[in-house]
């Protein structure tokens, strides 16, 4: 057997062993626990802040979308949804606006540094009987590129991320 053939055989054996060694890792599925909780998103409470109606609705709709994307909950219910009443282990997400700075897309385009849209909210995740599970103050801003309503998307994304990263208590089942 020539040296070249020996080398090729060794490389082939090495490759087969490497594949076999790696296969359990490739084949293994990351064990993601099935979500225990469902969540119902309450309508956004503007608090004492004079928040534009479009922002209120955009925060609410973006929250529903972002929470669904996290796949952290069995179901994401809308405010007033009768189906939530019959479901077990439902958390309520309440969002109260703490501060809002209206921005200007034109100011941002002209000056780069001025005209940011800023939103700050208190997000509270509670059980049906009012027990606090999670409470966080979250920001959502648009500083450079994007329309003013983009702040609501950023805010909802941050709220959903905060909930996803948090350790939720065990459900009843």
């Amino acid at each position: 057997m020539s040296t070249r053939t020996k080398l090729s055989s060794l490389m082939l054996i090495g490759a087969v062993l490497a594949t076999q060694g790696a296969s359990p890792l490739i084949g293994a599925t990351k064990s993601v626990p099935a979500p225990q909780w469902s969540v119902q998103v309450a309508e956004v409470d503007p608090g004492d802040v004079n928040l534009e109606p479009a922002f209120r609705i955009a925060i609410y709709e973006n929250l529903l979308e972002e929470l669904t994307k996290t796949k952290h909950f069995k179901e994401v219910f809308r405010s007033g949804d009768r189906k939530a009443g019959g479901a077990a282990d439902v958390l309520i997400l309440k969002v109260t606006v703490k501060s809002y700075t209206p921005g200007s897309e034109t100011k941002r385009a002209v000056t780069t540094v001025a005209g940011a849209t800023k939103l700050k909210v208190l997000s509270q995740l509670t059980t049906r009987d009012g027990k606090d599970v999670l409470e966080r103050t979250v920001d959502g801003n648009v500083r450079f590129i994007g329309s003013n309503l983009r702040a609501t998307h950023n805010l909802a994304h941050n709220v959903a991320k905060g909930i996803k990263d948090a350790q939720l208590p065990a459900g009843s089942d």
Binding site: E43, E52, P53, A54, R56, I57, A58, Y60, E61, N62, F77, R78, S79, G80, D81, R82, K83, S104, E105, T106, A109, V110, T111, I145, S147, N148, L149
Partner: protein, 164 residues
């Protein structure tokens, strides 16, 4: 006779084409409402079955408020399920990504000057409605300035409550 041929540098060519694209999209956005009862709107978010930033016509069709795209797809809600109509105004930069890139590529800060003139005011109509299960939905539509009042009055004529 000497013919002077003006040479286009690659940068100038890029800026010119981006500005042309921006101007074209600007003229596309300037489209006013379709004749009749249909209002040409942009769906921002929330209307079930319609993608974000879709352009189409919003009109009352029998007992429903219908949004229809040019390919006849879209969505509708029963007027009786609408709980509130809210109208606000928004100032936006026009021309989309093309004009934004054009502004960024314009030398000597010229893009900032362009930005001063490429903004426009729009009406934003926020609709709050309920689905069959009682779930609250919100939908936002962007209309040319002044047309939100038309939609509001048409819906108010159907007995709906509107908040300013």
């Amino acid at each position: 006779m000497i013919l002077k041929i003006r040479t286009f540098t690659p940068l100038r060519l890029i800026v010119t084409s981006l500005m042309t694209l921006g101007a074209l999209s600007l003229s596309a956005e300037e489209k006013t409402a379709a004749p009749g009862d249909k209002l040409h709107v942009t769906h921002i978010l929330g209307f079930e079955g319609v993608s974000k930033n879709a352009n189409g016509d919003l009109f009352i069709d029998g007992d429903a408020l219908r949004f229809q795209k040019s390919d006849n797809s879209g969505g509708q809600v029963a007027i009786r399920s609408i709980q509130d109509i809210l109208v606000s105004t928004q100032d936006k930069q026009v021309g989309g990504t093309a004009l934004m890139l054009g502004r960024a590529a314009t030398p000597y800060g010229g893009g900032r000057v362009i930005a001063l003139f490429t903004h426009k005011k729009y009406d934003v109509v926020s609709l709050k409605y309920q689905d069959a299960d009682g779930g609250v939905h919100g939908a936002l539509f962007q209309l040319p300035k002044g047309q939100a009042e038309t939609l509001k009055s048409r819906l108010e004529a159907r007995g709906l409550h509107a908040t300013r």
